[in-house]
Symmetry: C2
Subunit: 345 residues, 2 copies
Amino acid sequence: MVMKERRKTVRQITIKDLAAILHTTPSTVSRALRDEEGVGEVMRNRVKELARKMNYRPNAVAAGLRKGNSHTVGVIVPRINRDFFSGVIAGIEEIAYEAQYNVIICQTHDSLKKEEQHLDTLLRARVDGILVSIGLETKHFDHFEKVLQAGIPLIFFDRVPEEMSVNRIRVDDRAGAREVVQHMIDMGYRNILHFAGPDYLALYHDRKEGYLEALEKNGIPVREELIIPNSLTFEEGQKAMENVLKQGLRADALFSASDYSALGALLLLQEKGIRIPEEFGVAGFSNEKFTSYVRPSLTTVDQQSKVMGKHCMELFLREVNENNGSFSKIMLRPEVLLRDSTRRR
Amino acid sequence: MVMKERRKTVRQITIKDLAAILHTTPSTVSRALRDEEGVGEVMRNRVKELARKMNYRPNAVAAGLRKGNSHTVGVIVPRINRDFFSGVIAGIEEIAYEAQYNVIICQTHDSLKKEEQHLDTLLRARVDGILVSIGLETKHFDHFEKVLQAGIPLIFFDRVPEEMSVNRIRVDDRAGAREVVQHMIDMGYRNILHFAGPDYLALYHDRKEGYLEALEKNGIPVREELIIPNSLTFEEGQKAMENVLKQGLRADALFSASDYSALGALLLLQEKGIRIPEEFGVAGFSNEKFTSYVRPSLTTVDQQSKVMGKHCMELFLREVNENNGSFSKIMLRPEVLLRDSTRRR
DNA sequence: ATGAAAGCGCTAACAT
DNA sequence: ATGTTAGCGCTTTCAT
């Protein structure tokens, strides 16, 4: 590859150029290139041959303007470097690819302002649909109204607004939490901490509910002081566990709504010389990759990220084709992964 | 938020609609909205007010077609769930945001076919520039030629094609490797394994070179059998280390070109009851987040991902404004992070 | 089977 | 300060 040419503003080949060379018209060229009816065998081949030879590249902007769609969907997620979200994106991309859709990925870093900006940008770019997992700052959802006003499908996944008539896909967080806590109880843990997330997000609410249900079912009284709110990051997890130890709270296990804070706690416990899982059990949520890398490996709940992504895109495709005024709620079954951090005896 | 309306294909408000309502013309409305010269104070305010009231949303597709640019750059990376790549993307987004550019993120999963497809899609979408980190399968670069033909800036980062006249940004992998191996030698390790990547990628080549240089400088003879090619993933790392042990190779440390295979090896060694760092030292490369989460924490080399992303976007902005036929090579200084996996005595 | 003409929504050159 | 006109590159009706 020789990069000899000085870069300059180049006028790209257009359909009109091809038409002129072949002594025909843009309409015929357009039809030929898109394999439409009504072009002679010979002409079609001449067009395609020339297009190839001249490196013709269709202008999707122009086509989009004319056709009124872009064959592109926008995906808005809090962050792309979470295995969960990148898994969802992989699922979306897989189905999108089959259906010849492009995917634009945006991350909000959990900022409401960024979320609104990305939304505007995507709407201005005239995407054909938007798939969103909302950020931690998002407590009201008015800014999503304009997506519906624009008349394109809007689909929420994982972090979804509850009690609203919109398409949404989640895993059954409550069941996942219940099962993992049940397992911990089966392992003989009785004083189980819970690191929770903000209650206004259904998934965190449900994880707490699952925790409570499991305790209740086993006749274990709930101790409010064991439920520690807003402990989702690595650092928060360390700090929270440090406080627990400092306060001398009677506790022998932790079920965290987040793998990150579970790990923070786990490392702190190890530093203090507390043996896991013998003296203290730890479980997280989301099946981040590192949970299988740390020692002891961390019990967690897999959220079917790739399956969720596929469902998202399939739901979009259904919406865009059928366009009936209804909406879907899809709930996936999570998979509890029992690992060494809770497996004692 | 009441989502009452049945979704249907809605014609969005256009500049023409606004003009009609205000008994003026599209040009005036366009000028007013973009804060251009030549619109009266009163008219400008009336236009803006109405646009706001009617939820007018400019059609970026139409504007792009007319202006011949999209104010969008495309970013192609092997995968987005590597902390290194997501860090670069964060840097790109930061500068892009300031300069009012949109960013389209594409991942190739190291597939050459995907890389070519994404490239085509971005060119059809008429992005204003493309920033790429090539995939493992990519050994020839002809497909990038068309980016230059299209007359838009092309910038490679991290995984760049060497010996080619294109813009590229990297860290000094050789220096990073040399320093970390020197540190291992200082710690008394003498028989240091190297897990290498494919030699045709400059960054892996250079990491090996740095390793060799450090040995040489300290008068330690190179033993070819200690250099194990294509060991980059977690699984490959485990397998490679297992082979090393099985073969009874005399080795007391590992410098891996990848954090993932370093971790695989580390865990395998621990399983076998080998103490780290006392009996065996381990170092990786890239500063993936998990390297600080595992115990012992893993010595590694930080690649300045965010800084690299900023440089990429800044270089793009310079290119797009100045458009001189030259190209830049930027080399960043990596930072060696000495952690517990190599710190003995 | 092919061509002519209009127009998607916007911007910009050229009037007035 | 505002209007008129043309056109970005494509698709789609309507002719022939």
